[in-house]
Symmetry: C2
Subunit: 380 residues, 2 copies
Amino acid sequence: MTIKFTIEAKDTGSDARTGEIATGRGFFRTPAFMPVGTAATVKGVWPDQLREMGYGCILGNTYHLYLRPGHERVRRLGGLHRFMGWDRLILTDSGGFQVFSMSGLRKITDEAASFRSHVDGSAHVLTPELAVEIQETLGSDLRMALDECVAYPAERSEAEDAVRRTTLWAGRSVAARRMPEGGMLGIVQGGMYPDLRRRSVEEICALPFDGFAIGGVSVGEGKDLQRETVDRTAPMLPASRPRYLMGVGTPGDLLFAVSRGVDLFDCVLPTRNARNGMMFTSAGQLTVKQARYKDDPLPPDERCGCPTCRTFSRAYLRHLFMQGEMMASMAMTVHNLYFYAKLMEGAREAISRGNFADFVKESHDSGIDRDRNPKEVESL
Amino acid sequence: MTIKFTIEAKDTGSDARTGEIATGRGFFRTPAFMPVGTAATVKGVWPDQLREMGYGCILGNTYHLYLRPGHERVRRLGGLHRFMGWDRLILTDSGGFQVFSMSGLRKITDEAASFRSHVDGSAHVLTPELAVEIQETLGSDLRMALDECVAYPAERSEAEDAVRRTTLWAGRSVAARRMPEGGMLGIVQGGMYPDLRRRSVEEICALPFDGFAIGGVSVGEGKDLQRETVDRTAPMLPASRPRYLMGVGTPGDLLFAVSRGVDLFDCVLPTRNARNGMMFTSAGQLTVKQARYKDDPLPPDERCGCPTCRTFSRAYLRHLFMQGEMMASMAMTVHNLYFYAKLMEGAREAISRGNFADFVKESHDSGIDRDRNPKEVESL
């Protein structure tokens, strides 16, 4: 079956909604955050741990898996799910954002994105058709059309060109589709130009996609402009289809976008920041290497029930981090992903109960997006 | 209570025995392998995973914990068990082997070992009394007397001097003991000189230790000389007390020593080799980066039921390893520690059943100590 998106409850005071996305493989509840598993692994976390946290869909990177170990190899080994030991859903991006990120190494024409591998410098040509083929070969459940992402700031002409090309590629992606199972999502571009965003929405949403993503954010535009873009763009996307905000963001960013009717998120923040010693907590961001935690016997977040908070103190995590121990990254990644999972779970429940606004207010009052210790002078 | 060592069954064809070591905190069955948790973490493994594998005792490093985060800090944070989230037993070494390892940075007199920290170059003096105090402050269950370890090869006079000093320090360690709970083990030295080993055994075993360790092996003497030393030394140690072979070894080394009546082992091999991409399997050692595993869908060990073998293929682990993904180390560490846990479990059961010789033969026939792919020409 293709995907089935069911909205089960709508918030009364905002555009937030909760429901589920189902495919032949299974389903997961929305709004949902999807941990990023770039190279067929969510760094530092066992698949079982992701399942226990309640994650129902994770993200894989087409670009990385295409280069290594190669999508054909993954197929021979039983597909991406079996390869990485994950039996729930997987969304694969199209590779567009990765190609965009390597500015010096790529060339984009209407035909294709040409780039050199970040691994070995070898030359590759990524067409919309190939992006679909790679994703279908990997066997992901939700697949993205190849888009062209522009940096911020971008000239209007540049953003306009990317909108045109993204639409062109979106049509070719739809035509290239061979796998009936699962879904394909189109991506809206347009930079920070409201009329270009509108044009992109109109063009992309005219195509038979199973859902729609807001791309081209989290590229350096800053929080205000990002929220403005989400605020304007999300409501234009068809309410009956899943809306996906790509590459966003902090806990506060997520709640904001949920209130604007966004259903799906992915972001490296919880995993990457964990490896850099930063934890998200209900009272704000905690930087574990700060000297104040040397003797702190408390768990990272006193309101958290994750395996890390149940077992380890801030002092212990600081010790592990300062020693460069793997367990530092492992434990802080588990905490952050658990925190994100619980945040989304809380949002879903609040929407169901009809008091999402209260949930957002409580989350902000407790300080989720604050720096927990803003005045700390670093003294290791 | 101090420690209670109970022998429950003895092998008929060898000196192997199985039983348990109990302290006020709990007990674990012997013969037992103890994973090494140098800096208050067994690298890459959650405490829960160690428990699930059946480990009842792990090792902590006095030298490392003394330097960082400091034993007094660990005490303030509730002791080593609470600090690292491990509620079963912990054995701490005395720091002697670490001081021995930093040849250029240390000076040893009858009074103490003086050394410079490998971390920041600061000067430290480790006396037998301090080694006891650090371990008691950490709150470990089994503690080791400070010894002097000599390299291989060593002049007779050097080995003799180390025997004398180790005995001197052993007496001071016993006298320095303040904590009645748990046990203290003495260490036998003597290099590869049989008569010095005998002298050291006589002197150390005359002291009121709760168990005895064979130290000064795994220092470059090679497998044959090591086994010779174990073969000669183990039977001289009192049969009623636990015997501990320090820093050993491969699966075959362990089974050999068990057959000579050794009860306890620790070694970095399963954990360190895992991080280097080497797995112990029932059919031999598997080096995961070998090109032959690129497309190999089999689990690392087809006879293994560990979380890694249940979930991941050799091809996937190779991919993770080549990508430098944390999960490579995590998954291979879990496999290797599981393999060691099962090996010891198998040994215990075989001794109980009275067919330890068969177990050893089967293990060797299946090839536990072989290089699984000796003729592989590396072609990545």
